[in-house]
Symmetry: C2
Subunit: 330 residues, 2 copies
DNA sequence: TTGAAAGCGTTACCAG
DNA sequence: CTGGTAACGCTTTCAA
């Protein structure tokens, strides 16, 4: 059994009240007793119980984070950013993996609420559509990173996925590519929807007609990239460039290209989305669209904390930037 | 403010005690009142407070996890395994990043203890040497994954790093390579120490003398791999193969090899350690030593839970296996 | 400057 | 089958 404040108080010969105040460095406690209490606490190896404290203070200094999986490198980046921002504000993270399953997202939400976390950030929410009844009773702020749910109490911070995808296509167009393929992501998420839209719009803005037979389905995995590349190579004429829903998919096309002897960017230019740490390590290094994950994580935490203080806050959207590397010829 | 059990009880016209039992599906409560209580709870959107419950039950159903960073893909794999095992046992994870800084590891340990987690797993502990006084007052089991600390109450589960490194070297030797370089990892951790040892021993067992000028220092980053490769290529004679402390380092040598026009495995064979998901996506795919991270995570959780039940448990070590891919010629 | 006591939201024991 | 009541470990009035 852990040592309690009562033990410390007894040992120091004071009441629990005084012991509590002494350890909290309350101004109206004599230095003398403070010293005695601290001494007793040290000798007993006393560590205060955050759970008891949470009960009375009605706050846990904990933020809940729901993510598909920590092994998803994009999610990991966001989690890290959130972690850093939270830590700086004196908060810690309760992490739950939903594995992208909507029902598990809802369960996680409920569990976090039971634990009375002070805020919840959901990364890449998949099936928040059926959240209505859970959300309606929540007394804790929720922020979505890269997702949106039509609930008035839920804020979101996201990358401008449409703009990002358009940016990539325009870059390709500028470089002289015109037959540009696209490999998609999970259609339940809004980021995937916006990215295709950006792709299509940029093409149309350039007076081109997006052709359905160079738009490949995918779930954002490397395997999707591999499969799409094999498909692509059997097409006549072949696409000259491909924009991928995310870097992971791009990694798959790069790997399959290597296996099939397809040269990048000479035979096919490849462009990703997310700028994962790994994308500068591929052969060739991957040109990709970057999201400001750092700021997004910080912002998520900041929105949560401000909402907690009763502030009204707005959704925020960050523009993407292009990271030029060697998988696209210039 | 969240609705409390008292609110539910009042609405259902029963005492809190009864309400509590009704919701817990206690056998000696009439179906009738159970129904009424449940109904009231639903209508009010009642969600029990885990913090209050934790206080009385003296357990939080939470495991603390200290890791360098979630963005470290090796750590992420272990975290995931731990998460899955924990979830299956009804536990959730409080995650803290230490960024490899010993003082932050200690702080994290203390914070987790304050929150009364039911167990703590530390992944790749760096500076546990000065843990003595923290550990001595802990009333919660601690398990180290891939680390060791000379404290009687701390258990560890690790990969057999020595055997893994030897395995890799023997594989290289078998394939006809003799001039084999090594790029090291953080020397504060025991895994790095064991891996060099395995490298050296395998060489010696084959009657070769490990040469200090092909043993490069590193911290386990891709940049270390790049730097070491450049060094290596300036040597005469050049190494024919290189064993890397981990996959990340191997990624660095692969990337730099691509940049310098060094062909893998023709000019240089490369072998990694960890078998990250990404290692099958490199060009060429990376031959590497795999640790059974899945089982290691499960085992860590299992040790924790068994210790909590008062069982005596032993350290456990898992053997590594070799994953043959294309970065080594056969 | 200190202490007694109430209360945070539950569970569990003891009566009835 | 149900209700009081005492914890759980801490903070915070309110008095002294």
């Amino acid at each position: 059994m852990p040592v309690s404040l009562k033990d410390v108080a007894r040992k120091a010969g004071v009441s629990v009240a005084t012991a509590s105040r002494a350890l909290a460095d309350h101004p109206r406690i004599s230095e003398n007793t403070k010293a005695r209490v601290r001494q007793a606490a040290r000798e007993l190896g006393y560590t205060p119980s955050a759970v008891a404290r949470s009960l009375v203070k009605r706050e846990t200094h904990t933020l809940g984070v729901i993510t598909t999986s920590v092994t998803d490198p994009y999610a990991a980046q966001v989690v890290k950013a959130v972690e850093v921002a939270a830590e700086a504000a004196g908060y810690h993270l309760l992490l739950v993996a939903s594995h992208g399953v909507p029902s598990r997202e809802v369960k996680a939400l409920r569990m976090l609420y039971e634990r009375r976390v002070d805020g919840i950030v959901i990364i890449s929410a998949r099936g928040m559509d059926a959240y209505e009844d859970v959300l309606s009773h929540l007394t804790v702020p929720v922020v979505l990173v890269n997702g949106r749910v039509p609930h008035p109490a839920v804020r979101s911070v996201s990358a401008n996925n449409r703009q990002g995808a358009s940016l990539a296509v325009e870059y390709l167009l500028d470089a002289g590519y015109t037959r540009i393929a696209y490999i998609g992501g999970p259609t339940q998420g809004q980021s995937a929807r916006h990215r295709v839209q950006g792709y299509v719009q940029a093409l149309q803005a350039a007076g081109l007609v997006p052709s359905p037979d160079v738009i490949f389905p995918g779930q954002g995995t490397a395997e999707d990239g591999r499969r799409a590349l094999r498909h692509m190579m059997s097409l006549r004429p072949k696409p000259e460039a491909v924009l991928c829903y995310n870097d992971l998919t791009a990694f798959g096309v790069l790997a399959e290209a290597w296996a099939m002897g397809v040269r990048v960017p000479d035979d096919l230019a490849v462009i990703g989305f997310d700028n994962l740490p790994f994308s500068e390590l591929t052969a060739p290094p991957l040109t990709t669209v970057a999201q400001p994950t750092e700021e997004m994580g910080q912002t998520a935490v900041s929105l949560l904390l401000r909402q907690r203080r009763g502030e009204e806050v707005q959704d925020v959207v960050f523009d993407c930037t292009l990271v030029e590397r060697a998988s696209v010829r210039r």
